[in-house]
């Protein structure tokens, strides 16, 4: 299954949000742990100190005293209820959350602060304890002094509140900053995808027939490869289009001449005063219509060969056999020209290709050599294996092709000036198209300097054949 499409901006925001939650969560957890540790140290030390102060001030006296009821040390009314948190001249409401008790070893409560419950704040064992009394959790320090126990305690909620506030004071700016960051990143992302949208718009608003390259200014370099590739593609499409257009123009042009000739000769036949003149004109009309048919045929071959690129049904083909078969097929033509074909280089040469295309390639090369070669004359065909490549060459005697024409003769309908020989104008273009589809190459050279022509086709040899 292909991966689903997604929005770059949303993905960016979501990943930012998740990573922020992870980072802030761990930070909060760590801050809380640090606050816990630190306050624990301070609170414990304070409880212990308070116990010792109490011991020094009143524990010894209480030990000896005989009391009807425990002494209660009152807090001034002015400090307010323990729910407030504003200090005043008398003290602080939080004092309600700090308490102490003095117990005799026998378990009699001797004294307590008014903030302390009458039940015991904690076990009578030395050291720190956490104890629930009067429905509150207390942190307690117990200290034995002679015959009494001094319990100094503080409500746990005080410490918890402190921890929370410390943690919150650390984490809340981070959360706010994170939210602000999300908004900013969103804006940046919106801005960042704007060139992509501009590109999409510029493609959407194009004239469908236009193959002009896309030109946008102020493009981020990350988008340039996309645009460059797109423009390169458009360029290739345009090139293919205009090649097609040129071909169609040339084809129309080339076909008009034989068609006009058919027309003209038939009109002459109609106007002919005598039977033999009529026949002569009809004969010429027939000849012209044969040419038109041959040109149409070659045009069809060319367009079929071009259109079937990449869709061949390939098989292992013996090129030497194909050559021999075609020489047989063309024998009547060659005999009428008093030409023969000499084959050089016996041996097998296998090519992985579509047989019909290979046959067309060899046929066109032989027909070309027969047409432009000397009559009578000899056409030389050689087949060789060279470094994983099959080299096929077809040579004829006759006029050499001028150097400046050598690359142009493969252009559709290009004809060498001074040559009035009739050809379809596509034979060598078909050769070149087939060769390039087979990842091979074709070139033309003089057979001997200044004389004749040799077409050399190089094709990749089939990798292995048993």
């Amino acid at each position: 299954m292909p991966p689903p499409d997604y929005s770059m901006r949303r993905r960016l925001l979501w990943s930012l949000l998740v990573s922020m939650l992870v980072v802030l969560g761990s930070l909060g957890f760590f801050s809380k742990w640090v606050a816990q540790e630190e306050t624990e140290e301070i609170f414990s030390a304070r409880l212990a100190t308070s116990s010792r102060v109490l011991e020094a001030l009143l524990a010894r006296q209480l030990e000896k005293a005989t009391l009807a009821s425990p002494i209660v040390i009152e807090l001034p009314e002015e400090i307010g209820a323990d729910t407030g948190d504003k200090p005043n001249a008398s003290g602080h409401p939080y004092e309600n959350k700090i308490a102490f008790q003095v117990w005799s070893v026998e378990g009699v409560l001797l004294a307590r602060s008014s903030s302390a419950p009458s039940e015991r704040l904690g076990p009578l064992e030395p050291g720190f304890h956490e104890h629930r009394a009067d429905s509150a959790l207390w942190k307690v320090f117990a200290l034995r002094s002679g015959g009494v126990w001094i319990l100094a305690a503080e409500k746990d909620e005080v410490q918890q509140e402190m921890i929370e506030e410390i943690t919150l004071s650390i984490i809340s700016p981070l959360i706010l900053g994170g939210l602000a960051l999300l908004v900013v990143v969103n804006l940046i992302a919106l801005r960042a995808v704007r060139p992509v949208e501009a590109l999409a718009r510029s493609i959407a608003n194009r004239d469908p027939a236009s193959l002009q390259p896309i030109s946008l200014s102020g493009i981020p370099v990350e988008l340039l490869p996309v645009i460059n590739e797109l423009n390169a593609l458009l360029g290739r499409v345009e090139e293919a289009f205009s090649r097609e257009q040129r071909l169609m123009d040339s084809a129309a042009h080339e076909l008009r001449t034989p068609i006009s000739a058919v027309h003209l000769h038939i009109q002459n036949a109609l106007n002919a005063p005598h039977g033999h003149e009529k026949n002569e004109s009809l004969q010429q009309a027939l000849e012209a219509s044969r040419r038109a048919a041959k040109m149409a045929e070659q045009l069809l071959v060319y367009s079929r060969v071009s259109a079937s690129a990449g869709m061949e049904v390939k098989s292992l083909v013996a090129l030497d056999v194909v050559c021999r078969d075609l020489i047989e097929v063309l024998r009547p033509v060659l005999q009428s020209h008093q030409q023969r074909v000499d084959i050089v280089g016996e041996g097998q040469a296998f090519v992985f290709a579509e047989r019909t295309k290979l046959e067309r390639l060899v046929r066109n090369l032989l027909e070309n050599a027969a047409q432009y070669g000397e009559k009578p004359g000899v056409i030389g065909l050689s087949l060789a294996l060279d470094d994983g490549k099959v080299v096929l060459s077809v040579a004829n005697d006759g006029t050499a092709i001028p150097d400046e024409e050598k690359s142009r003769i493969f252009i559709p309908y290009y004809r060498i000036l001074g040559h009035s020989t009739f050809g379809s104008g596509l034979g060598l273009s078909i050769v070149q198209e087939i060769v390039s589809q087979m990842s091979g190459s074709v070139r033309v050279e003089d057979k001997t300097p200044g004389r004749g022509a040799r077409f050399v086709v190089t094709l990749p040899a089939a990798p292995s054949h048993g």
Binding site: H253, E254, H263, N268, N271, R291
Partner: protein, 210 residues
């Protein structure tokens, strides 16, 4: 392929045609003979039609030129006409239209208002091989018809023997030394003895006055 058919069709309507198959031989033919019209294909081997036209006009030639080409693009037509062609016809074409255009150019050359040339009782239509004298229709062979047409197109002028020979016989086409005298003799016999006057030492001129 087309040229042979055109030559036949033009010859049938009594034009004298020299057919050449390359730009260079066209130039030699134009240099050597006298022509009234060139039908020029652009896709010539050796030297293309534009070059032939350009060099003709550069050399000062005023011969009428009709381009007959498969190139039908506007730029090709404009280029041909601007290089000095008098007309441009694209393939495929109708033979009758081509012949009509050839007559247009011929009329323009000889400053005729219509296809019909009438001088006195003598009448000749350049689109038909018939000639009439005093309402009587006379059938003339090609060269006699051509000679009469030449004299009628130049009614007040003396045509030299050389001019007549060029008009009746093509480049490289042999002509007996007395051939023109024979044609003149035939015209006088078939129409009237005064139809052609001999201007001694100069040539011939039409003997009929309007």
């Amino acid at each position: 392929m087309i040229a042979a058919g055109l030559e036949l069709a033009l010859t049938r309507v009594h034009y004298h045609v020299s057919r050449v198959s390359s730009g260079l031989s066209a130039q030699s033919a134009l240099a050597a003979g006298h022509y009234d019209l060139v039908i020029l294909d652009l896709g010539l081997p050796g030297m293309d039609g534009y070059q032939v036209l350009e060099s003709m006009r550069k050399a000062g030639s005023l011969v009428s030129v009709l381009i007959l080409s498969a190139r039908d693009a506007l730029k090709d037509r404009v280029r041909g006409l601007d290089l000095g062609a008098d007309d441009y016809l694209t393939k495929p074409f109708e033979l009758d239209e081509l012949l009509a255009r050839v007559r247009v150019l011929e009329r323009r050359r000889s400053q005729q208002a219509s296809n019909s040339l009438t001088i006195g009782d003598l009448q000749l239509n350049i689109d038909s091989p018939e000639v009439s004298w005093k309402g009587r229709s006379i059938d003339l062979p090609r060269r006699e018809w051509m000679l009469l047409k030449l004299l009628m197109q130049n009614p007040q002028r003396v045509c030299s023997r050389q001019h007549i020979q060029d008009a009746l016989y093509g480049w490289g086409e042999g002509c007996e030394s007395n051939a023109i005298d024979v044609h003149v003799h035939h015209l006088r016999r078939k129409i009237t003895p005064d139809v052609v006057l001999t201007v001694r030492g100069l040539g011939y001129r039409l003997g009929v006055n309007s």
